[in-house]
């Protein structure tokens, strides 16, 4: 069984909510990422979303855009991201890792090569912001063959008929985008999230994670009360520019612990 499914099944059995944490690989430097991943897990992250740096991160707000830019200054790419995941797997075989990014680096590598190398490195899922189900092409089959979950997004604007269409092609979990906007925006509306998550649940048994606009333990708790878990990104990436690189892992870990505490309250 894929790590994502086993992790989420276990959480569900315990009646706990999932905390998904996001950083960009190589942000602020390639040396900080591995320690930060371990620190996130040690402080309560259940699933890691690792951003693959891209030159044109269209769905990101300013905070995560800067993260991509900092990583690209060091030339960090998809190949380096596989390396980091492989290093992480040397000591952690249980925490799922989802790569989150944009279609072009995956397209450039080739879908088959991507799926094979990702599986080999120990990647469990892929979330590609700009690949709606209609444009997946052969990627879907390649991911399946490599036992990599295909995480799809549902948005506040997704029409009811379309929700069923998306959940039918998704696996692992559903990522519900909590607001109309970019990552890190600040106008989350819990009632509308609850309504939409309920509509998603009518079409699928897959767990639903809610992301975009979740900045602390309180908002994480609020959204996971109506879903299966929360995704926190900008709140962690914003730390990358503030602290010196030898403090990154501990600061991020501390923030994750705070959010975990709020979530479990």
């Amino acid at each position: 069984m894929n790590r994502i499914t086993s992790t989420l099944n276990a959480l569900r059995a315990e009646g706990r909510k999932a905390l998904v944490t996001y950083i960009v690989n190589g942000d602020p430097t390639p040396q900080t990422t591995l320690d930060t991943l371990h620190a996130m897990v040690a402080n309560g992250a259940d699933i890691i979303e690792l951003g693959v740096p891209f030159s044109d991160p269209m769905a990101e707000g300013p905070t995560i855009q800067r993260g991509h830019e900092r990583a690209l200054e060091h030339g960090v790419s998809l190949k380096d991201t596989f390396d980091v995941v492989a290093q992480f797997r040397e000591t952690n075989q249980s925490t799922p890792i989802v790569l989150m990014g944009y279609a072009n680096p995956v397209e450039r590598m080739g879908y088959k090569a991507f799926a094979e190398r990702a599986a080999q490195a120990g990647v469990d899922g892929l979330l590609t912001v700009d690949l709606p189900p209609e444009e997946l092409g052969d990627l879907d089959a390649e991911l399946r063959a490599a036992n990599i979950e295909n995480i799809l997004l549902i948005a506040p604007t997704t029409a009811k008929e379309r929700i069923a269409h998306i959940t039918a092609s998704a696996s692992g979990f559903i990522y519900y985008v909590s607001l109309k906007g970019v990552t890190g925006a600040g106008h989350l509306d819990i009632d509308s999230v609850a309504e939409k998550v309920a509509a998603i649940r009518e079409t699928t048994d897959l767990p639903v994670m809610v992301g975009f606009g979740i900045k602390d333990g309180q908002t994480a708790k609020a959204v996971s009360a109506v879903a299966d878990g929360a995704v926190v990104g900008s709140a962690l990436v914003s730390l990358m520019s503030d602290v010196s690189s030898n403090e990154i892992a501990s600061k991020v870990g501390q923030k994750v612990a705070e959010i975990r505490q709020g979530l479990d309250k």
Binding site: N104, P105, D130, T157, A159, R162, K180
Partner: protein
């Protein structure tokens, strides 16, 4: 595939999902899918409706000043000493370029949608000006995203947009040019999708934009075809147009695509030279990839990162191209060729001095290639060049190249 055995109804492209063969499509975040569906449905319903066509045609006639002339450039022809060169005078349109054909059309769609706010991205500023213009005319709020580098290069157009009541937002991320302006416009749209209409300025982006921008720009080719038949009694032998995103080129080419005797040349920005890697010519030296909502030829590195482009002309300084051009390239129907900065500057000077017409630096690429092509062609041949915009906006750039402080 040769062009002769291709039985393609070009008017039926793209397919229902917005694909031109492997190109085009809709590579956007889920939040925008609904808005694109709505737009596609609205456009499908309106595009052949007589009242919509009439309103569009009326605006083009009385507001833009169409039809634009097809002008026989006799002195340029004599200077080159080859084929007869005709200019399709899009530079004479209101606001000074072909861009307004599209913004008039999209403004009508915005009006039908009931949305009160429009946004646009711009490179050279021509599309921004054309968007600000139609917004002023319809009383809509207008926000234009422009790369911070381009804001510096095109100060006159920035001021024009402000005079027209638009808010110009300089984009400081990435390479600070057109591609980054488009990223930022997409981010605005995803945030304000309920009340905002995004006026994309070129025949690129997610479906249905490449189709509707092309359709609005096709007035160029329809007029040119009729004017050429009327003035010369026959079809041209070749068409030449510059290609950044490619809206003026597709507008000229499309109505001729089924005329197999008409050769077509899309002229890309060769910058410092294609061999240097410092250019903006993805069809000459790029590979297919995914950016800004469509699959198309792109300039990227081996990791799939989009790379910086170089061109003397801000309007061509873009790492991608409209998906229909990628498709036409692969089938061989249109030839895509680069013209370097220096050659384009020569084209600018040449047309200015022998015809008294100052072309935009974008269009100067087409002029420069047409001179080469005409010189190598028979004297009886006819070449139509799309003079897509006028050069007033570029005089400070030209002065700087000449080392003159204006």
């Amino acid at each position: 595939m040769s062009t002769n055995d291709a039985v393609i109804d070009f008017k039926q492209m793209p397919d229902a999902k917005g694909h031109f063969g492997q190109f085009g499509g809709r590579f956007v975040s889920e939040t925008l899918i609904h808005a694109l569906d709505e737009l596609a449905e609205m456009y499908e319903e309106l595009k052949d409706r007589p009242d919509f066509r009439e309103e569009f045609d009326r605006d083009l006639a009385h507001y833009v000043g169409r039809p634009s002339p097809l002008y026989f450039a006799e002195r340029l022809t004599q200077k080159v000493g080859g084929a007869r060169i005709y200019l399709k005078r899009e530079d004479l349109n209101h606001t000074g370029a072909h861009k307004v054909n599209n913004t008039i059309g999209q403004a009508l769609l915005a009006k039908h949608s009931g949305k009160k706010r429009v946004i646009a991205e711009t490179g050279a500023g021509q599309h921004g000006v054309a968007s600000a213009t139609v917004a002023a005319r319809l009383g809509l709020e207008c926000v234009v995203y422009m790369g911070a580098e381009d804001v510096k290069r095109q100060a006159l157009n920035v001021y024009r947009m402000k005079l027209l009541g638009a808010t110009v937002i300089p984009v400081e991320s990435g390479s600070k040019t057109l591609k980054d302006a488009m990223n930022e416009a997409m981010r605005d749209w995803v945030t304000n999708v309920d009340d905002t209409f995004y006026i994309i300025g070129t025949a690129a982006g997610p479906h249905p934009y490449p189709q509707l921008v092309r359709d609005f720009q096709c007035v160029i080719g329809r007029e040119a075809r009729a004017q050429c038949l009327e003035q010369t009694g026959r079809l041209p032998d070749a068409l030449v147009a510059c290609v950044g995103g490619g809206s003026n080129a597709i507008g000229l080419f499309h109505p001729f695509l089924n005329d197999s005797s008409v050769a077509m040349y899309g002229v890309e920005a060769g910058g410092h030279g294609v061999e240097t890697g410092r250019h903006a010519a993805p069809l000459s030296d790029g590979i297919p990839g995914i950016l800004h909502g469509n699959r198309t030829y792109l300039m990227e590195d081996e990791n799939g990162q989009i790379i910086e482009t170089h061109s003397v002309s801000a309007g061509l300084d873009y790492p991608g191209v409209g998906p229909e051009h990628s498709w036409l390239k692969d089938m061989g129907r249109v030839s895509y060729v680069p013209i370097n900065d220096d050659e384009a500057m020569n084209g600018f000077r040449s047309l200015t001095r022998v015809e008294g017409i100052m072309p935009a630096l974008e269009s100067s690429h087409a002029i420069a290639y047409a001179e080469k092509l005409a010189a190598a062609s028979d004297k009886d041949d006819i070449i139509i060049v799309n003079l897509s915009g006028r050069g007033d906006k570029d005089i400070l750039t030209v002065a700087e190249i000449d080392g003159i402080k204006v």
